[in-house]
């Protein structure tokens, strides 16, 4: 028999399906990632996933909660994928494991598990890692077509698990700073935007390779919007704000401020807009609140990128906005049926 009380029917879309669709939406970006950087990322994703599931199971046991339904909800898996995608692909295995375990155990389960964590676990992991291991976190694999040497899969595995590179190759030889990082350094050296953009590391809009990955995430985001998994408010507000603030500064001083499209397609902007900021648990629930949240995150990201000490602002912008969510929710309650102005 059905439940004892109405409604006796329900729409068969569960949390696990939603999370699964989000994972699916990551595929285009992931495919382009592999295309440009090689399969190392798949290793990190696997590592992170295993760690996440194991940590989740252990924590649920410790907290005396049923393990099976929560493992099946796919939320830990999503966190794992997002962590792997936001840290450098050639990160040593222990970094992936430490980051993921911390995200799941401390920033998710200790706060009460699914639905109760105030901060985005993936971004917490990112923040912890960039503070603890700044050197590792700023060395990105050189995308295919750039650089002199290319590691094959076996060599990548070797580095990830044993930290050894083939003879005669130094880490600096196969990795480089991210496009955003390079931009910052070059600007410090009094470079001119136009000159900087001529560097081989840059492609059509932003970083060579990374811009394609960002485009992949944009595609996935489009799918999420179309299938109603996320609402348009947060991505739109975020991207528009980022575009507008970058655009204004670019118009004012094109020599020292990059184009808004550069901001869109570099770093974690696209991933953040559609996959991180939209995490329902850590974002506001009201439509106006979501707009405000996206706006704040966009502005903060731009400010941190342009004036802050870190190469990308996505993680810290997300975390800072996460703090404001309860406040935003409380102050943006919409008018209800019958309490609005009459038509």
């Amino acid at each position: 028999m059905a439940g004892f009380f109405s409604p006796f029917i329900s729409k068969p879309v569960g949390v696990s399906q939603i999370m699964l669709k989000v994972l699916l939406a990551l595929i285009p970006g992931l495919a382009l990632y592999v295309w440009h950087y090689g399969p190392a990322i798949l290793v990190s994703i696997t590592l992170a996933s295993v760690t996440a599931l194991a940590t989740e199971a252990a924590m649920l046991k410790l907290r005396d909660r049923p393990v099976a339904p929560f493992l099946k909800d796919n939320s830990a898996l999503l966190t794992a994928w997002l962590i792997a995608l936001s840290i450098p692909p050639l990160a040593p295995w222990w970094m992936v494991v430490v980051g993921t375990a911390f995200a799941i155990s401390i920033s998710k389960q200790l706060y009460g598990g699914l639905g109760s964590n105030p901060f985005n676990p993936a971004m917490i992991a990112y923040a912890i890692l960039i503070i603890s291991f700044p050197v590792h976190m700023t060395h990105w694999l050189t995308p295919h077509g750039l650089g002199s040497v290319q590691l094959d899969f076996a060599e990548q595995l070797n580095y990830i698990f044993q930290g050894v590179l083939p003879d005669g190759i130094k880490l600096d030889g196969v990795t480089m700073a991210t496009p955003l990082d390079t931009l910052k350094t070059q600007l410090h050296l009094n470079g001119n935007i136009n000159a900087i953009m001529e560097m081989p590391i840059y492609g059509y809009l932003a970083g060579h390779g990374s811009e394609a990955v960002a485009f992949g995430f944009l595609l996935g985001g489009g799918y999420l919007l179309a299938s109603g998994i996320i609402s348009w408010h947060i991505p739109a507000a975020f991207l528009v704000t980022l575009f507008a603030s970058a655009g204004i500064m670019h118009l004012v001083d094109p020599a020292h401020y990059v184009t808004p499209l550069f901001h869109w397609f570099s770093g974690a902007a696209m991933l953040g807009a559609f996959f991180i900021l939209t995490d329902p648990v850590t974002s506001p629930t009201t439509p106006r609140g979501k707009l405000l949240f996206g706006f704040g995150a966009g502005l903060l990201t731009y400010l941190i990128r342009t004036y802050g000490g870190f190469p990308d602002g996505m993680a810290f912008a997300t975390l800072l906005m996460n703090i404001c969510v309860p406040l935003i929710d409380a102050y943006t309650q919409p008018a209800i049926f019958g309490k609005k102005v009459k038509p």
Binding site: M1, G3, F4, R65, P66, P69
Partner: protein, 188 residues
Amino acid sequence: MLNALLVMALIAASLGAILGFAAIKFRVMGNPLVEKINGVLPQTQCGQCGFPGCKPYATAISEGAADINLCPPGGDEGIQKLADLLGMEYKPFGSETAPKAKSVAIIDESTCIGCTLCIQACPVDAIVGAAKQLHTIIASECTGCELCLPPCPVDCITMETITEKITNWKWKYPVYALTPAKYDSPAP
């Protein structure tokens, strides 16, 4: 210098006037705390707290002379409310006191002799009757304080617990379980 002094004096005077005005305008009559506490107490007027009624108990609490866990009809919720109101820690009932289900008094009308003693005891005038007449209890006004029991010379008053009926039935708190087992338990 003189100007500054004058300005300061003026400000001080006007602020003083506003304060004075507010003090008169918004003065609260009586002791508001006692009223507030009394508002939380169940008004059963049973004296089980050791005071001759709810108001005296409220006064005692407000003076700090009594604990907040002495009122059985208020139940745990009552203590919680008092704790919230007074910004105190919740305190469970002592060993002698325990929360009590609400009940009403029933007069066995075949034994009642019409002595009016219970009428005098009832704190809320919920018993009607006159000398040598049958007495009866207005159930809707009876607070279940049991004060009418001892004076009755023929012990014709009994207390009846108010049980759940269709008219006062409440939806139950949903059982929040992560296993489908919750639906195996019988419907309330």
